[in-house]
């Protein structure tokens, strides 16, 4: 009999499966497994700027064969995906209907899950942050280290070190672009005063290979991170999945839409439908690990346990982005040799509190100008000419806030027609506090020569950091998890995605859920021995 059935091939699924497979357990992974079979192979191994000037087929992968890369209407969550990445969201909304007027949902049925488009920021939680979750750094550190070695992490030990536990297997940091260098240089010139005021800046840790690592990389600085996985230098869960597929005790079963599970004696039975033929399929194992993404797992758990009309909490890091004018870039020619993801990370301590806010600094380089033209209320001719000369000077800030449970944030499964309903309405005090925190962050960036143009809030759900539906709780009801990630309403069902986090710091969740998934898989492997 199969030891463990794992549902989902995203960051949680593959990192829960890896220690199970390494320990010799028989693992079957069920996955819907959408892939891009159309665009990625069209993109030559040349820089973004070079492709723009020379590739006559670029319209296919930049715009899409059906022009799906040309967004109409108001900016919505998912609109930032490029055509080679649009498969990440395909089919999910149709398979798992969601109704919400306050929350924009993105779910994935792709091979690699939402991780197939991850922005690769590695931001481990601190001991204090983990203790507030009923865990501690001692519980997670071995798994942070294991995952860091598995995925490849590049970074520095710099002024951000107090906020992120050390990782022994870090490769040298990626080279940041001209705009990032200018902002960092200004920070270093004012460091003491800024640190005393609670502002810390450094290069982000990125799940990228700056040297050859496990058959991947090194990063070639082609500025194509949003379009293609050149050299596999940026981590995607699919790379771990391929490693797993080489193991004799691992079986990958694609085109499975998992609909429910139940327990019967010493086994867990998982019912699925083939995505293409709709044929019913049943898989069994001694245990089940659910890593279908927080909302996918919520849907599966609630319908399997027949818990309709039972709200569960829902968390999502509130997110705002702020285009700023980096005055240090005026008149400078930006480097074409660069990587596309976040160039700098800032941690800001809010005065008189233990609260922090995290900001990432991006340049707008390897996305297309027409997408920004659309967002301006100006004639396109003039907006094109203005953006061309403004864009080299932009530093885009992405600001994340922490999230904690509150009465206005929940998810519930309804029937007839069956759907998830989501309500996400933070209280006035919480919103006021976040706005004040954003103003504080922007004050610091003005001191670094980055002048905010406008604060844009793409709506709740935009950060894609979903969590909290079945939280780890020392003593909790049957819709909570114990410290090993076991869903208390079950004997042998474990959760290995964002579902289990009872609150989420403003740091990116993905690396943390991967480490926790590794911990869940490791402990489960021991239990099944």
């Amino acid at each position: 009999m199969t030891d463990v059935v794992v549902v989902g091939s995203g960051p949680g699924g593959v990192n829960a499966a890896a220690p199970l497979v390494a320990a010799g357990r028989r693992v079957v992974m069920l996955d819907y497994g959408n892939e891009d079979r159309r665009y990625a192979s069209l993109i030559p191994h040349r820089s973004f700027a070079d492709l723009r000037r020379s590739d006559g087929d670029q319209h296919r992968y930049f715009l899409g064969d059906r022009f799906e890369g040309v967004p109409f209407g108001t900016a919505r969550v998912g609109a930032q995906l490029t055509p080679p990445r649009m498969h990440i969201l395909a089919d999910a909304a149709a398979r798992i209907p969601v109704k919400s007027e306050s929350f924009a949902v993105s779910m994935s049925l792709a091979r690699g899950g939402l991780g197939a488009g991850w922005s690769a920021g590695v931001f481990p939680f601190s001991d204090d942050e983990l203790r507030a979750m009923g865990l501690g750094l001692a519980d997670l550190q071995p798994h942070y280290d294991a995952v860091a070695e598995r995925i490849g992490v590049a970074g520095d030990q710099d002024d951000l070190a107090p906020f992120f536990p050390a990782s022994p297997s870090m490769m040298p940091a990626l080279d940041i672009d001209t705009s990032g260098q200018i902002v960092l240089a200004r920070y270093r010139g004012r460091r003491d005063g800024l640190n005393a005021a609670g502002f810390f800046l450094g290069r982000p840790r990125v799940a990228a290979c700056t040297r050859r690592h496990r058959g991947r990389g090194p990063h070639a600085y082609l500025d194509l991170c949003y379009w293609a996985d050149m050299d596999r230098s940026i981590y995607r869960p699919q790379w771990t999945l391929e490693e797993l597929q080489a193991a004799p005790n691992f079986t990958y079963v694609p085109r499975q839409f998992v609909e429910s599970f139940d327990e019967d004696g010493g086994r867990v039975r998982v019912r699925a439908r083939h995505a293409d033929t709709d044929a019913a399929e049943v898989h069994e194992g001694r245990a089940l690990v659910l890593a279908a993404g927080t909302l996918g797992t919520a849907w599966l758990v609630l319908r399997s346990l027949r818990r309709y009309d039972t709200p569960v909490p829902l968390l999502c890091n509130p997110y705002a982005y702020v285009p700023t004018l980096n005055t240090g870039m005026l008149g400078r020619v930006p480097d074409e040799r660069r990587y596309s993801l976040g160039q700098l990370t800032a941690i800001v301590r809010m005065p008189g509190t233990a609260r922090i806010v995290q900001a990432q600094v991006f340049s707008y380089r390897s996305l297309l100008t027409f997408k920004l033209m659309k967002e301006l209320p100006l004639p396109y001719r003039e907006s094109l000419r203005m953006l061309r000369v403004l864009l080299p000077n932009f530093a885009i800030l992405g600001i994340h806030h922490e999230d904690r449970p509150a009465p206005g944030k929940w998810c519930v499964l309804r029937r007839e027609p069956e759907r998830l309903e989501i309500e996400y309405r933070p209280g006035e005090e919480e919103t006021r506090m976040q706005r004040a925190d954003e103003r504080n962050v922007l004050r610091f960036f003005r001191r670094l020569g980055c002048w905010p143009l406008r604060t844009l809030r793409p709506g709740h759900g935009a950060s894609l950091h979903y969590a909290g539906t079945f939280p780890i709780a020392p003593e909790g009801g049957d819709l909570s998890c114990d410290r090993d990630g076991r869903l208390r309403a079950t004997r042998a069902v474990y959760l290995a995605d964002g579902s289990v986090f009872p609150w989420i710091p403003p740091k990116g969740l993905t690396f943390n859920l991967m480490a926790n998934a590794d911990r869940v898989g490791t402990r489960l492997a021991e239990r099944l021995a």
Partner: protein, 138 residues
């Protein structure tokens, strides 16, 4: 009545001339025709009337676009110009018209002021032109 291929081709050339001051190669015009047929198969009402007006009076495109950007951002005209912009941008022949360009800070200020002034002027006149176009025959 949907526009025929020749009308769409003329429309594409008109939008390209408006955006970048040049007529694009036929390959890009054909791409625009295909996109327009696929994305906007059966326009009607005010949308169709405004686009037809623009086709008949190419001088009006900039004014109509300016009015649309401010008041009718989801209009058919706006979307069609956006599609042409996307097609031009994703082609080697026009890449440099869209790729970012570093300029001297003084030049930056002058350019922004100049383009900003033009934009405002177009918007003001554009509201009048839009009113006329939306009442014209589709």
């Amino acid at each position: 009545m949907p526009a025929d291929a020749d009308e769409l081709a003329a429309e594409g050339r008109m939008f390209a001339r408006y955006l970048v001051g040049r007529i694009p190669p036929e390959e890009l015009v054909e791409r625009y025709v295909a996109a327009s047929r696929s994305l906007f198969p059966a326009p009607g009402g005010t949308d169709a009337a405004v686009v037809t007006f623009a086709r008949r009076h190419p001088w009006s495109v900039g004014f109509l676009d300016a009015a649309a950007g401010l008041l009718h951002p989801g209009s058919l005209l706006r979307n069609k110009i956006l599609v042409m912009a996307a097609i031009l941008e994703a082609s080697p022949a026009f890449a440099d018209d869209f790729l970012p360009r570093a300029v001297h800070p003084l030049s930056l200020g002058l350019r922004l002021a100049g383009h900003g002034t033009l934009a405002v002027g177009r918007m003001l006149l554009g509201t009048v032109v839009w009113a006329a176009a939306s009442r014209s025959r589709a």
